[in-house]
Amino acid sequence: MRRRYTLWAVLFLLVVYWMVPAGAVAAEDMKPLIFDEANLLSPEERNELNAMANEYGAKRETDFMILTVNSVPNDDYELWTENFYDEYAPGYDKPHGNTVILTMVMSARDGTRNVHLEGYYKAEKYLDSGRLTKIRSKITPDLSNGNYKQAFEKYIKTAHRYMGFEPGVNPDNILFNIWFQLGSAAAIGAIAVGIMAYRSGGRVTVNRRTYEDASTSGIMDHQDRYIRTTTTKRKIERNTGGGSGGGGGGGVTRGGHSHSSSSGKF
């Protein structure tokens, strides 16, 4: 009995730990991580997101940055972001350290709006181009609808979550989903208890052999006649990219800092 209570206590603590995000960061320790030159956010939204980026970034030892601009020279947002990294020297651990940058360019010369993501150092390893692309496709619908704050929150949370997975695994694997885990655990519990309740009244312990008179029973005659063979063929779909493998993206800044990347329009 006692041991069961101990188990309970441990489980409870684990659940609490999973549910409650780590303690808030005091305001004076906060780094500016949101640079909203394009004015997509209200000052309150900016503060809120900045606090959130600080809090989640601390847990992954990575600066989660958001840059919004109206336009960049020659529409080369990749070069622009790389130069920003070289010159501003962001990083959680040190200047030119662990950083992931979300760059929004609101009006390119061809009239499109672009979103671009880069990960440096720890973020390059844990947020490779494949994962950055996943994040981008998750936030693109919100960006297209103008729900910038929501999109940025999603970006911070998803980046934080993905960095909790070892590089190379698919972070969206259903096995890693807490709801899937909770659901399966509950299903296993329900089935087990159901079987216990069903069997509590005693169960049938005779089978088809119990009353069979084996000495006089048996197969008297049998026939297995071959008729025909049918064959169908199906083209094998070769895996085209997908998953977490970094497709395309990535590069090196003029200052020699290597990074992963993903970009697209919205």
Binding site: R4, L7, W8, L11, L14, Y17, W18, G164, F165, E166, V169, N173, L175, F176, Q181, L182, S184, A185, A186, I188, G189, A190, A192, V193, M196, A197, S200, G201, G202, R203, V204, T205, V206, N207, R208, T210, Y211, E212, D213, T216, S217, G218, I219, M220, D221, H222, Q223, D224, R225, Y226, I227, R228, T229, T230, T231, T232, K233, R234, K235, I236
Partner: protein
Amino acid sequence: MPVIEYKCPNCGSGMVFDGNTGMLSCPSCGRKDNIEQIPDPLKKQVFIEDEVKEYHCNSCGAVIVTEPETSATTCSFCGSAVVLSDRLSGNLAPVMVIPFSITKEEAMKAFKKWCRNGLLTPGGFMTADRIKGITGMYVPFWLYELHNRVEVHARGTKVRTYTRGDYQYTETQHFDIYRKIRLNYVKVPIDASEKMNDELMDKLEPFPYQQLKEFKTPYLAGYIAEKYSQNDEQLYPRAKEKISSYIDSYISTAVSGYTTVSYTNKQIDTTLKQADYVLLPVWMVHYDYNKSEHTFAMNGQTGKVVGKPPISKAKVAAWFAGISGVSLLSLKLISWAMGGGFL
């Protein structure tokens, strides 16, 4: 006189059947008689055709209170074991009997142990201190011998897949299947008492048939016995239904090695070879819990207990939470091992 009693030749006390020794024994002086060797008083009786309305105890003369199905009981006034012989003769004569081998004390002990082992039963139930009554009862059963001739036609496929170049090939071989099977079942038990719960009685099986004895009334001394209320013809459909799942499962093992099998024709021809009327030993336990009565049955030879015990919501919740918690922990460990992070 259709009432039989067993008086001890030594001391005159009423003798009863003792499950431990399998003998008719006298509780007063300890005399034990081998039942297989003493002549059954039933065989010497001559019966009047009229249905007897009232039975009187040979010892004290009191009216024996019985239900219409009762064939053996004890006198409620003096406690003598009585057997109502007219309800055990003619058409109602059992062919065989499995005597009790578990005594009342042993049955009580076994039942208490079973209660304690209940994983979901409430704590108060587990102490088993509210046993209202425990009755040893010979329940009437029909043992059927059923011979079956089975003919089955089916279509089967064997599927093989292989890869050549960019294509995956699925090759399906089609077969025409025929099986002719002889399938005989012996001593398939069906309880013949209307008031017994069929599901409960089915779960009591199997009864050890090697313990079947030629029927003699002294085996009933000290116990309750009932006569059948449904005859072998009435219960024949139940017997057929019982073996039909056995037959189906035999057929599917007879048609093995195929990926899929679909039966086009299944012909089962059952003949009833024999139906023997037997009495099988069952302890009935009545238990009061939370103002409602629960009935349990125990196989009088094997000690197997069946019946729905009360279920404790708290225990269900505890087990559910415990098993789910451990599962969650395991899933977490698996995802951690796969590189998914533990928390």
